[in-house]
């Protein structure tokens, strides 16, 4: 599904933040991306979500070299990818419903065609009563769930989540993580960036560990739920 080969990234003329990244993410897979703060997790996620171009190396998504994709092809790849941002990135002038419906709206779908889906998903993530509210009024946990719902609404093939449990209490973090596991069981490949080891210990999932600009792939281990 996604393949990195010898990928490096540097900002301007500075040193390489990421070096010689070579790994693959298979369809229907579940993995954590971890590493110390400043290791480049967010930069790597930006590469995967196509909001940053590598300085060198090859990134293939769905079998095609990203560097050779047209704008239309890049858009289609983005539509197959759901993203939960660390800082949520909800649009403050849109209601929770409108924020969650955004991926469907940008595909040109009319509101009546997706209203039921969005309402259903909002109710499922516990925001049924908050769908008319603007993000500034939502709590951190509610924003988190709205961001997750927005990433899920278009039923992506691949989900990227950057510290999705960073702003919620442990109980809610477990519940949110269960949403991702559920989605994974429905067939979506998932990568979750986190440095919360206690959270990772709950699941025996593959780990991509970033350290010193390199990535080390660790196979599933631990006594948690096997994914």
């Amino acid at each position: 599904m996604i393949r990195f080969e010898g990928v490096g990234v540097r900002y301007g003329v500075g040193p390489e933040i990421l070096r010689d990244l070579t790994f693959a993410i298979a369809p229907y897979s579940f993995q954590f991306l971890t590493g110390p703060s400043g290791a480049g997790k967010t930069t790597l996620l930006k590469l995967i979500m196509l909001s940053l171009r590598p300085t060198r190396g090859i990134i293939e998504m769905y079998g095609d070299n990203v560097a050779q994709m047209s704008e239309a092809e890049l858009t289609m790849v983005r539509r197959k990818t759901g993203v939960v941002f660390q800082e949520f990135r909800l649009l403050d002038h849109l209601t929770t419903f409108e924020n969650v419906a955004l991926p469907l709206r940008v595909q040109g779908r009319a509101e009546p065609s997706y209203r039921a889906e969005v309402v259903e998903l909002l109710q499922w993530v516990g925001l049924g009563e908050r769908m008319h509210v603007l993000p500034p009024v939502l709590s951190g946990g509610e924003k988190q769930r709205a961001a997750i719902a927005r990433a899920l609404i278009a039923k992506p093939d691949f989900l990227i989540a950057d510290e999705p449990t960073g702003n919620v209490d442990p109980t809610l973090a477990r519940r949110l993580l269960r949403l991702f596991v559920e989605l994974h069981r429905l067939g979506t490949a998932i990568i979750i960036a986190t440095h919360d080891y206690s959270l990772m210990e709950q699941f025996a999932a593959r780990r991509l560990v970033l350290s010193g600009g390199h990535v080390i792939v660790e196979q599933p281990r631990g006594r948690g739920v096997r994914l």
Partner: protein, 321 residues
């Protein structure tokens, strides 16, 4: 305090009666407050007002020039000069006879000596004995409607009078009038184009500013799968609305100005100044074509606002990419 908690149940989308849930009207994805809307509407309204005034003036000049041309072009005149050894009355009669037999001439009116003298009164005053002055005589010809007079043949006949008579078909005057009117119209069109260009520049500047302010919105839209066309359309929709608002406000103000000017010129038609205005601008009847022109200017401004904003956004997005 969180009001809800996420469900532990497996997610199975099951569409149900969501249609009953009231939702607000789907708003613009570009935040309204992020665009200097009021200021831009004012700029567009002022620009449209000026462009509409210029377009309206061009329309008035065009109509007035057409009126002049029609009235002048429907007449010709023969001037018979007194010459030593020639009977001017006989020359006048022969010239008039030649004119009557010329195809395309509907009527011939000979100005008597007394009438010819009366034509000179504005320049030489009254009470002066002009009996001994060699005053030329005029013959006024009216063209037949829809038939081009045979000017060549008439000139050939008049040449037989030994140079005592000459034909003036007002062609030179009409040409000068037409040149002047066209120049005025060109100036007005130039002003309209310049004003539209200035308006486009203002919109382009406002659009660049809006894209910069909404950088976060644009990035999120891209990351959730929007292409450049979708993003550009969102900005275009917003700016088109502002263009329509400003354009029609400016056009309405210009239309009111012309309506009031027309009303005033009609109301005070008996005043001396009104005669002079009417001499230059015709009857100052703006007419439906004038209001239609102003409406067209408003549409052009609104449309160009949308197009300029779309092109600006697409260029900005390409440079951002």
């Amino acid at each position: 305090m969180e009001q809800d908690q996420p469900s532990d149940a497996t997610y199975e989308p099951q569409p149900r009666a969501a249609d009953n849930i009231p939702l607000r009207k789907q708003g613009s994805l570009v935040p309204q407050r992020s665009i200097a809307g009021r200021s831009l509407v004012m700029v567009i309204a002022i620009m449209t007002f000026l462009a509409s005034l210029a377009a309206g003036a061009a329309n008035l000049v065009s109509r007035a020039a057409a009126e002049w041309t029609n009235s002048i072009a429907s007449e010709m005149s023969i001037e018979v000069h007194p010459a030593p050894g020639r009977d001017i009355e006989a020359d006048v009669a022969r010239a008039a006879e030649a004119a009557r037999h010329t195809p395309g001439v509907a009527s011939v009116k000979i100005f008597s000596r007394a009438e010819s003298e009366a034509l000179l009164q504005p320049w030489i005053g009254t009470g002066l004995d002009v009996t001994d002055l060699p005053i030329p005589r005029m013959i006024a010809l009216t063209r037949a409607a829809g038939v081009k007079p045979d000017v060549v043949e008439l000139n050939r006949q008049l040449a037989k009078l030994g140079g005592a008579a000459s034909l003036d078909d007002h062609r030179a005057f009409i040409s000068r009038l037409s040149t002047m009117a066209n120049a005025l119209i060109a100036v007005a069109v130039g002003i309209v184009v310049l004003v539209l260009a200035a308006s486009a520049l203002a919109v382009g500047f406002a659009t660049r500013s809006a894209v910069a302010l909404n950088h976060e919105v644009v990035e999120v839209l891209h990351l959730v799968g929007a292409d450049d066309n979708f993003v550009a359309r969102e900005f275009q929709r917003r700016f088109l609305a502002l263009g329509i608002e400003g354009g029609f406000a400016g056009a309405l103000a210009a239309a009111i100005c012309y309506f009031v000017a027309g009303f005033v010129s009609t109301r005070f038609a008996s005043a001396a100044a009104a005669d002079q205005i009417e001499a230059v601008f015709g009857s100052f009847q703006f007419g439906l074509s004038g209001y239609g022109l102003i409406f067209a200017v408003a549409i052009a401004v609104a449309y160009s606002t949308g197009i300029v904003s779309r092109l600006t956004v697409k260029r900005r997005l390409r440079s951002m990419a």
